[in-house]
Every structure is written in structure tokens, then in C-alpha cells.
């Protein structure tokens, strides 16, 4: 009986370790997973507010310049944040630029990082694009390195 109890305890410990490992996934792995599960994706990445990409995935065939996107969209996020502040609309949450063929979404993760997603309008809808970003923002936030 005692041996059985020990086995159960060991299994429980392994489960906890597995869960902790899942939580400790790298930001790169999370971004890759987001890319593989999002329909119509042309590029996804976590960027810093200085305009430098931290982890970016572009599906094969996509011609997105990640460095350019990170730099350009950092300016967008900073400006949106400033605007929300100046107009007393609370904290900036997300921004969506709709163009003839794409949805360009940016969402603030922390004061230092933002999530950017570029989606094809042909393969997704506006409602779905907004849901996808919200859903994945939490996972990406979890995987972000936390500085004390």
C-alpha cells in the first residue's frame, strides 16, 4: 500500500513539473505555435518598443520584412499610446490598421513589448482577427521574460 502511495505522489510531482515546463516555454516557441494555428497569417511577432524584433515568424512564401515591420509598428504603438493618454481614454490596448488586402494588428503587452500580427483579408474576417490577437496575447505575455 505504501509503495502505491509513493508511486501516486511521484506521478503527481511529474505532472506538476510538466505543467511548469509548459509555462516556461520560450517566447519563440509560443510565437511559432501562434503562427501554425492562425489562418491567413502573413507574419506574427513580439517586438520591443524601440522597434527591434524579439521573436518573429513568417510563414513560407510570405514576403514580410520583419525588421521594417517592427520598426514601423513600434512608432504606431507609441503614437497610439500617447494619443490614448492625451485624450484621457485610459491605457492603450490595441490598434488595427485595415488596408485593401491586409489587417495589421498591434497589441501592447507591457510598457516594453508589443505583439504584432499581419493577416490576409482574403482568409480571415475582422472579428476573427481581433479574437485571435486577444486569445494569443495572454499566451505570449506568459512567455515573455520578466525582469525584476
Amino acid at each position: 500500500m505504501a509503495a502505491e502511495e509513493d508511486n501516486e505522489e511521484m506521478e503527481e510531482t511529474e505532472e506538476i513539473e510538466e505543467t511548469e515546463e509548459t509555462e516556461k516555454r520560450s517566447i519563440g516557441d509560443v510565437v511559432k505555435e501562434v503562427a501554425s494555428t492562425t489562418e491567413g497569417l502573413l507574419g506574427v511577432g513580439v517586438m520591443d518598443m524601440e522597434g527591434v524584433p524579439v521573436a518573429v515568424v513568417t510563414p513560407p512564401g510570405a514576403t514580410l520584412n520583419a525588421e521594417l515591420a517592427a520598426a514601423q509598428l513600434a512608432v504606431v504603438v507609441r503614437l497610439c499610446s500617447l494619443t490614448a493618454d492625451k485624450l484621457k481614454l485610459g491605457d492603450f490596448d490595441e490598434n488595427l490598421i485595415t488596408t485593401a488586402s491586409k489587417y495589421i494588428l498591434t497589441k501592447a503587452l507591457t510598457s516594453d513589448f508589443y505583439l504584432a500580427m499581419i493577416l490576409s483579408k482574403e482568409s480571415t474576417t475582422l472579428g476573427m482577427a481581433r479574437l485571435v490577437v486577444r486569445e494569443h496575447a495572454a499566451q505570449v505575455y506568459q512567455a515573455l521574460p520578466k525582469f525584476e
Partner: protein, 150 residues
Amino acid sequence: MMADLSRFTWGKGRKKGEPEKGGEMGAGGNLNSILEEMAGQVDGLLCIAVAGSDGVAISSYVPSGSMLNAELAAAQLAAIFRISRTSADKLKAGDFEDNLLTSTEGQVLIRPLGQESYLAIVTTKDAPLGIVRLVIKSYASRVEQALGRV
């Protein structure tokens, strides 16, 4: 001789039932009345602004009760309008159609009116986005036409 600017109402919403100022409705008055009509269809409205890409307000409507400064909004949103257009261009995403900014307490939808001006609706966070998008889409061409006559 001073120009008669009474047909323009800058940043102030007319209260319900209050008679319209000025007799003959000019082009600017037409623009103001369109914004007022739009305002009646959006719940949680904080401001509607038509402005140039230089950030100067052409016409605006702020409902009574909203504390938003329309001139500040026009100037600030012009910067977002320009950066959105530039971003669409640089990322080779085709023509810029609109920009939706969401914050913890509000939403801002900006739609271009040609190359040099834009129409923006600022609402509270809980305003139905679908209605806001519908209103801005359906009134954009009317506003653009009225703008052409100013």
C-alpha cells in the same frame, strides 16, 4: 469687413430642440448638420471630427457631457492617420482603409477622406463597434462631398 463665420460651430454640440444658428445653410453648415446626424446614431459618442492631415479641425461635433477637446483630438488623430497610411505603404499592404484604436476607456475609428483629410469617431469603450463602423462607412462619402463644397 469681417467674414461671417456664424454658420460654423467649432467643437460644440447643439442641444436637442435648440434652433439652428444662421438662416441660410451654407456648405460648412451642411457639414455640421451631417456630423450632427451621425452623432444621433452612435451611443457612447465622445466626438466626431473632420480634419486635415495637418491636424487642423475642419468641423467637429462634441455632444454635451463629453469632456473631449475636439481640437486636441483632431491634431492627435491626424498623426495616427498619417502613420497608418505610411505603414500601409511601407509594408506594401495596399491602400489604407481605416484605423481602429482601442484603449481601456475608449475606441477611435479613423477613415480617410481622400488624401488630405480624415473623418474620426471617438466613443466610449462600450459603444457597439459594428454600429460605429457602419455609421462611418455610410457617411464618409457624404462628408467628403460636403467637404468639397466648403
